[in-house]
Amino acid sequence: MNASRDIAQDGSAPFKARAVPARRSLGWLNSSKGLGIVLLMPALMLVVLFFLAPVVLTAVFAFTNMSTATGITGGAYQVSPGTLRVLSDRYGMGELAERLGQPTYIVDEEGLAALEEMGIEPGIIAGLRDDHLGETYSSRREFEREIRDLPDRPSTRTVKQISAEFSRSLANARFRNAGALVAAAEAIDPDLGDAEKDALLDATYTGWTWTTDNFRRLASSPQTTRVLLNTVFFVALTLTLFNTGFAMLLAITTHYIPERPAGIFRIIWFLPRISPAVIYVLLWKWLAWDTGFISAFLDNFGVRPRNWMLGSATNAWVFVILINGFVGASMGMVIFASAIKAIPQSLFHAASVDGAYRWQQVRHIILPHLKWPILFVTCYQTLSLLTAIDHILLSTDGGPGGATEVWSLWVYHTALNNYAGNLQYGYGAAMALVLVIIGVVLSLIYLRLFNYNALIIKPRIEH
């Protein structure tokens, strides 16, 4: 053995000498650490693109007032009766708003140059410059009377043309950028202070701005409490009744029945999970519609047909929880069933001869072994229920009257689809961010609760 190894090494010596520099040139790629990073790169990029970036963008959007009205690119500066009212109401600059809102005509060099461009008679221009340069008029009629009184009397049509060139009013004017708006405002009132300028810019800006108002609004809105309670109710009930409770029941019962029927039984309970959400919910709707199965059946007993799903808030909740529960139960069932199967058969034998009947075996053998799976299912399903939207959207869409509106659906309705038509991306993003934070906090609490560190502790084996 040794001899042959020596021979092999001798034989490879010349190759080795050549191989060494080639290796060196690869540099840090030679270490498994370096190569690992390279191999991980595609995965890392996908994680960043599809997982990290949306969260970061949500967080960014949450601090803006983006909506359909503001757009998601920049905006312009639009002076309107509305913005002037904002100026007087919110900033207390009523007098400034009045001044800016009034039609104003100012005879200045800029206007005169424009007249020259238009080819107005030089006599008229000279007259305006000599007699009226620097004068301000607050009404069109007054200004036009002055024009008509000029030595070279222009025609009525020319008078209108001339007066238009000197109109310096801000009412209904739109400016590309802040500089243009400030210049225009200074033309009317050269003594504008910085505070007044800022107020004017804020009030007239049509694009989105950075703000924390979303959170203030969320904290003070009565709808927040209502939707929050709906969500807690939905998650808690679906999780305990179905995703863990019912799943556990299925797993334990299938453990104690023969393998073949157990398998068939499990597949049946898996159907809701593998059928498309739209079709699955449609089946429920058929069941519950006023011409559906329940109504048709109860009709035989003299019960008037009605929509059993949306008939009342209670009914809506029953259906929402059933629909989501049956989908969620299958996952817990599979995880619990495989965890039970992983328990050595000899433990059940030992428990039997130790005197433990079936129920005691469940309590003392099965449940302690399901600690981790329960933690996992609870954790995972809480998060997925918190963000559950498709089945509720398809079945009740939050109805009747917002009774089953849960947080994620509220986000959707606020940011992506509502009757008013003004989609509030920023506000919706703030709501979504709150949901993300709740999810993270809950995960941390769960790990603590189940004493994660104790569960992964290394055994102290001694022989």
Partner: protein, 352 residues
């Protein structure tokens, strides 16, 4: 407590594992169910503790018919091959489990648990979990759990199979000590003849679902009923050679060997083919019947040497002798066999 298997049968589907087996275990006795794997010894054990339902026959504990009684009510203690300790419970909780399940008062549970822990010497480990114990310690905990509620019978299913050689030796005597101290009736299932012989009062040797012989270890070794029993007991094992009876002696064909018929054995009629069993310790320098052959294998075991002796017809005998270096591989030797220690079997394996 006396245990009686009365015409007990067990089949799995169409496979009949055990048919009409009758076995009595006396009160306070430790009995070994010895046999090769697949012979039905574990099936028998599981039937006694009620994990397997019997297909036919009865199982009696004392005078009580336990055949239809669920395992929970049979009050048997079982030590499984894998120990089957509850991994999520501490040692104390494991031992106390059978008592707590019966809802004994907590003070009583604690007292009995500690008493049992003292018996098997694991007082210091009560707060550990099974994963933090060595194999031998786990074994002791399993014993304590099996014994804690003073069962009618203690069943041990290959309890030493998972231990290393040194621990096996130690636990062998420990289990026997505990069994004697508690005076409990015990059944040991094993495929290891050394365990069976060293630990048990009697051995029931099984093959293919049948009990071949029940006897004390000594009796069984000295007086095996069949060639199978003779071959199963003893290490290094017995060697068999074919011979033919002629004129009151046994002639080994093509080997120029004549062996006398052992005493207490009826001389078979001339021309009867027989199987002669020779234990390694009975072939050597002393004896009355010469055997010539060539040494084809030597194994040094320290105190003793083990030789393979190949006869002229190709048959191989084994000899174990005090260590010496006067013979070596490929030497032609003439050794002797003690003819009063020969076993004679018919062609079907039955002892003559």
């Amino acid at each position: 407590m006396r245990i009686l298997l009365d015409k007990f049968s067990k089949s799995f589907g169409d496979v009949r594992v055990i048919e009409d087996m009758t076995l009595e275990i006396n009160d306070g006795e430790m009995l070994a169910l010895l046999g090769p794997s697949g012979c039905g010894k574990s099936t028998t054990l599981f039937a006694i503790c009620g994990i397997h339902k019997v297909t036919g026959g009865r199982i009696l504990f004392g005078d009580r018919d336990m055949t239809g009684v669920p395992s929970q009510e049979r009050n048997v203690g079982v030590v499984f091959q894998s120990y089957a300790l509850y991994p999520h419970m501490t040692v104390a909780e494991n031992i106390a489990f059978p008592l707590r399940i019966r809802k004994l008062p907590e003070a009583e549970v604690k007292r009995q648990m500690e008493e049992m822990a003292n018996l098997v010497h694991i007082e210091a480990l009560l707060d550990r979990r099974p994963a933090e114990l060595s194999g031998g310690q786990q074994q002791r905990v399993a014993l304590a759990r099996a014994l804690v509620r003073r069962p009618n019978v203690l069943l041990l299913d290959e309890p030493l199979a998972n231990l290393d050689a040194k621990l096996r030796l130690e636990m062998r005597s420990e289990i026997r000590r505990i069994q004697l101290e508690t005076g409990i009736t015990a059944i040991l299932v094993t495929h290891d003849q050394v365990e069976a012989m060293s630990m048990c009062d009697r051995i029931a040797i099984m093959n293919a679902g049948e009990i071949i012989q029940i006897a004390t270890p000594q009796e069984m070794y000295r007086n095996p009923r069949t060639a199978f029993v003779a071959g199963f007991l003893g290490n290094p094992p017995i060697a068999f050679i074919d011979a033919v009876a002629s004129n009151g002696t046994l002639t080994v064909k093509d080997a120029d060997i004549r062996l006398p018929v052992p005493p207490n054995t009826e001389t078979p009629p001339d021309g009867t083919p027989v199987i002669v069993g020779i234990r390694p310790e009975n072939l050597g320098r002393d004896g009355d019947a010469p055997i010539r052959g060539r040494i084809s294998f030597v194994e040094t075991q320290g105190r003793e040497n083990l030789y393979d002796l190949t006869l002229a017809n190709g048959s191989v005998l084994r000899s174990i002798q005090r260590e010496s270096d006067d013979v070596s591989l490929n030497d032609e030797v003439e050794w002797r066999v003690r003819s009063d220690q020969l076993f004679l079997f018919a062609q079907n394996g039955e002892r003559l």
